[in-house]
Amino acid sequence: MNREGRAFWWQLAALAAAVACAPLMVGNPYHLNVLNVMALNVLVVTGLNLLIGFAGNISLGHAAFYGLGAYISGILTSTHGWDPWLAMLAAACVVALVALLIGIPTLRLAGNYLVMATLGFNLIVTILILQLDEFTGGPSGFSGIPPLKIMGHSLASDQDFYWLAWTTALLGLLLARNLADSRVGRGLRALHDSPVAAAAVGVPTAAYKVQVFVLSAIYASVAGSLYAHYFGIVSPTTFDIFASVELVTMCLVGGMGNLWGGFFGAAFLTPLPLVLHVFEEYKDIFFGGILLLLLIFQPQGLAGLWARVRGARAARAGEGA
């Protein structure tokens, strides 16, 4: 295993340790709730990062996939009495299919048509959720969604859900990392750098882009299902186009193309508006301003900043030796 591979394991182990210790230090259940939302965002943004960072395509529709996962899970369990786990699986399958249908026609084209299509898609999904109130509850939301259960034990409490959410998030990171450091992952990164050269050595560029898009949509769908079963209620604004922009913001702030980018972005941006209520009022200024400054001056995001600081320290250490 190479040095980077070993470094990843240390970093993942450190994060897992932090995750294990955090509940001991967090007394306030509301803060635990914030950490739970953070875990879900880590999951969505990690998937989004695979698409943005490795394939170079942007989706402005991931909130819609997140929302579809949540609503399908909610409707199947609450209205149709399905088992939540089965509903989660079904939601992921439906979302994968939808992503496939959007991805196939748009990703074979050069240029970023995906961002346009996903933008339109997210707007359509929001309007449909609002208008089909017979099934979705409309603007007031859909409630009465049962919690997930493991061997009869309900995961409704903040504490119980915490373990589930963070286990899933860490697993999502691990799987993403496995993908990035593999034949397929190299192919994806290669096609980001030069699509013609990647194709010339056998990388099926269009198929890979579609597959990674579908994969990232599945990440969002799973997170959405978890969200629905955790809160028990879902409402349309959680999944509108501005939520998609926030997700992309987390990805870019964290550092696109860096595995830890999704974690950094979600960890940094999730708690601030939730913990500090003043930010609710200034949310747009806050998100817009941070993203603007980072994109202008630090396009590699927080993960890039971290790597640069580490690099500078290593260089200083090297000079000293």
């Binding site: 034949r183 194709a199 010339a200 056998g202």
Partner: protein, 274 residues
């Protein structure tokens, strides 16, 4: 005469009314080096792009290894053993040198998303094989010391060699080389010439588009001359050097073409101005 690996028949290509190739035909014998030469704007890169599937030719046929391959996608051709390098370097700048060459094995490996994410045993075995073969290819071209560097940081000459290693690592039948020594200094050019002959030794068929006449005359078994999108001559290097039409339109009278300024497939008058 060895069997024909690639044959191009009556190839036609045009861009917005400019005829870039018309009725171009030639055959590439297996295991040999064929050079395609011609002044700027002659249609050389267009020919490479038509053969490698980047463009779909307007007319004619490209037959590779017994199959017509017109309009087949580049990644499909790569699986059949046809790959290429690029005139304007196309290394994967954000990947390490080793990873660049590992990507070169894409066509001959097959593990997908699921087995990569789950690290299945078959995937790990394949990964080890990919790494091993890529290292061997780097050693073949003397790049083993820069294996872990990001490819974007290498010198121009080294990046050219990374491209060649990436093209060769999967042991393709045919490699199309678009100006392999453009921009290289004489020593690097000499090294590249040696490398090409060594590749030929291994039985790989090469087609190169090149402006460096001394290299072309030294390494190639066969030379095809294009001019204004038409083939004007074909033969071994010695006969091409004496070919009257080649002398008249290309080698004779005019200055040596300047490497790296090929405006192909720009219309000839524009290229002349440049």
């Amino acid at each position: 005469m060895p069997e024909t690996l690639l044959s191009v028949r009556d190839l036609d290509m045009s861009f917005g009314g400019v005829q870039a190739l018309s009725q171009v035909s030639f055959a590439v014998p297996a295991g040999r080096i064929t050079a395609v030469i011609g002044p700027n704007g002659a249609g050389k890169t267009t020919a490479i792009n038509c053969i490698s599937g980047v463009y779909r030719p307007r007319g004619g046929r490209v037959v590779f290894n017994g199959h017509t391959i017109n309009g087949q996608a580049p990644h499909v051709l790569a699986r059949q053993g046809l790959t290429r390098t690029f005139q304007n370097l196309q290394v994967f700048a954000n990947l390490s040198v080793l990873e660049n060459v590992m990507v070169g094995l894409h066509a001959v490996t097959g593990r997908g998303f699921v087995s990569a994410m789950l690290r299945l045993p078959a995937q790990r075995a394949e990964e080890r094989r990919i790494r091993q073969q890529a290292r061997e290819a780097l050693e073949f071209l003397g790049l083993q010391d820069s294996a872990s560097l990001p490819a974007g940081q290498l010198s121009y000459g080294d990046r050219k060699r990374v491209e060649l290693a990436r093209a060769l690592v999967a042991k393709p039948k045919l490699v199309l080389l678009d100006e392999p020594v453009a921009g290289l200094n004489p020593a690097e050019t000499e090294d590249m010439g040696q490398a090409l002959l060594a590749v030929r030794q291994q039985g790989v068929t090469l087609v190169l588009v090149e402006h460096d006449m001394s290299l072309v005359m030294r390494v190639s078994d066969q030379v095809v001359v294009l001019h204004f999108g038409r083939k004007i001559a074909q033969g071994d290097p010695q006969s091409i050097q004496r070919h009257p039409e080649v002398l008249r339109t290309y080698l004779g009278g005019r200055d040596e073409p300047i490497p790296g300024l090929d405006m192909d497939p720009a219309p000839p008058q524009e290229a002349a101005r440049a």
